[in-house]
Symmetry: C2
Amino acid sequence: NVAHGLAWSFYLGYLRLVLPRLEDSIKAFIAKHQESFTFLDRGSKKLLILIPLNASISDKLEDQDDRICFYDNLPNNEINRAGVRGRVYKHSVYRVQDEQGKAHDCVVEYATPLLTLYSMSQESSAGFGEPERRQQVLLFYKTLQEILDRSLECRNRYKLILLNDEQEDDSHALSKAILRHLQQQE
Amino acid sequence: NVAHGLAWSFYLGYLRLVLPRLEDSIKAFIAKHQESFTFLDRGSKKLLILIPLNASISDKLEDQDDRICFYDNLPNNEINRAGVRGRVYKHSVYRVQDEQGKAHDCVVEYATPLLTLYSMSQESSAGFGEPERRQQVLLFYKTLQEILDRSLECRNRYKLILLNDEQEDDSHALSKAILRHLQQQE
Ligand SMILES: Nc1nc(=O)c2ncn([C@@H]3O[C@@H]4COP(=O)(O)O[C@H]5[C@@H](O)[C@H](n6cnc7c(N)ncnc76)O[C@@H]5COP(=O)(O)O[C@@H]3[C@@H]4O)c2[nH]1
């Protein structure tokens, strides 16, 4: 089950390295940008991780929804990793407009392993096709949820956002989903 | 089979992005360092990928063998990827001394997904233990070999170095293995 291994890899090789450092990165970012009215929502000091059920991922979030624009990157984290000296781990900050036009800042990205699931479903030699892909995305989401629930170092530092593709005709579906999670009570 | 998915992820999410750009990165590096007597071995314009059967990986190669030292990093490659703006991909150049004391430069790193295999075998909830791990490393190696053999964009730009742990008592086993592959006829 490919999704099982990719969820573990995403946790062991990424989330457990970057989530503990996230709050400090955001503080350094706010200090450098000297803005006092940003990162005010409840969820805004967490990494928002987008998991689209159809595994359809954009490299730039603004390509999916014009109420989203790229603001800047958080400071780089450099970690020596398996022979690569100072491998860079970074996150992007996006400004998301709500329906009143007010801007909300957040640290958001797609779950990168879904790119692998998507590409594997296109490669005939990889052994699985489009019908299995949706199931694998769900398995990825559930496995990741269980791993993160048990992880003390990652507690409260992330939000998994499962994106259904039912509102395909709403061009602001993504910003609305992000804002819903950003403003959610725990 | 975890190793199958990790091999695909390593190819789709990394090797197929970075290997086509490798030769240009090395040229830029040689120009910047203005050295004419480096990267002379046959294998030195390729990415050497270390695959230790016991999945035992060092973050710094010089920790494994004192005939290896870190030289510098190749220039950064920035790619927009799944919402992260300008995600950085880089490789490290190492200087490896042969038994005559002569230095050989090469671009070398461990296959990072093996870190996931190693950590998963330590986590009881991940569903596999140390006995399966060696098998999974072999499966990773074979799957990766098959994928890369069929990949036109990656042809001749890499070398997979399977490291057996039999010469555990030779403190220069790693540099010797690297040099053997670096100087090999095609
Ligand atoms: N968003 C995001 N930003 C990152 O910096 C990052 N680094 C890793 N990951 C994801 O976490 C998981 C574990 O990573 P690992 O390093 O073990 O495997 C990685 C690693 O073996 C290799 N790879 C990817 N990027 C690099 C890189 N910059 N340097 C070396 N190796 C890399 O290719 C595998 C797949 O990468 P992604 O398909 O991008 O997703 C990875 C993976 O799902 C990231 N995800």
